[in-house]
Amino acid sequence: MSDIMVKALELMGVGMGGIFVVMILLYGISQVLLKLTAPKKDN
């Protein structure tokens, strides 16, 4: 496998891994945010 192909695959790993990490982090943060800022319900 050529060097450039190895780099491209590395980019894919870093890229997709990175995006999932960021989006999962945002998912967790938004869950917490929604809990902390839930609108009060009228009785």
Binding site: I4, A8, L11, V22, M23, Y27
Partner: protein
Amino acid sequence: MSILLEGLLSFTWQQAVMMLIGCALMYLGIKKEYEPTLLVPMGLGTILVNFPMSGIITQPSTGVEGVLNVLFDAGISTELFPLLIFIGIGAMIDFGPLLQNPFMMLFGAAAQFGIFATVVLIVAVTGLTLPEAASMGIIAAADGPTSIFVAGKLAPNLLGPITVAAYSYMALVPIIQPPVITALTTKKERMIHMKYEPKDVSKTAKILFPLLITFVAGFTAPMSLPLIGFLMFGNLLRECGVLDRLSASAQNELVNIISILLGLTIATKMTAGEFLNVKTLLIIAFGLLGFVFDTAGGVIFAKLLNLFRKEKINPMVGAAGISAFPMSSRVIQKMATKEDPTNFILMHAAGANVSGQIASVVAGGLLLSFFM
């Protein structure tokens, strides 16, 4: 007399072809209404820059700086135009559907698969450099300003065709996505109903959300911060409730002015010498493949999740994770209605679609971080 004929005598067939391409772009914009805000100025710009010896672009023979080159240096080389347009886009985005169902964030991530799969494919079958391949791959972000931002840094020589491909394919989402989704799903899967329980999202959450995204992206993908920062600034204008005038200006005047300048300026790269080559054909072909891979990535990810979930997801929602907002979510709803007129998955698709907007910018930032 020779002065009058000089321009005509210097005219080449390649320039004539480019002028026809300019006409085609204007036709697509005006008649077919495919991204007219960009394709119309870009189409006319393409005609203008292909007049021989004109003063509109810098001519190597005279060295006198053309007005479009001045605009290019001021707005594209400095990344100013794509960033400013992001303020307007941010002001147009409603994160409500995503906050009502944050799980949709994952589809935004999955549907960026096309960017990286395309890069690997380009490297495997062409002799292009990795930065050039990455610039072509970013077309699959389905996000015009991000494509311009990344290509402008990694392969400025390919900026013209990359922009044409990015905006053209975004306009063609209703044609590109349905056959891919149909090929990857069964009728039964396309008919899956998804429960929609609208949650109240407080104003505080809507104000804090763009700030939190900025912090997360700023620390994890710092190269994406200019894009994310401007996008979230626009969204803050919209959500804070005290800057309605600025929000309206960002959504209308700012976006309109920058769109005019952006379209004309990108045409600087639409000269026959820079556009008519094999690389342009590769960009057109791989750009399309990128959109196909994106769609497939989102659908297959949803199908994978369904293996483990009790409450099934309609896999078509995964395809809405691409950034072309709001067109992709509308396409998904249309397909769902076609299979079952009582199936309403628009809000889920819109959530995935908005998350795609965030994920595509993060993807652009990660690509740049890899090289810089």
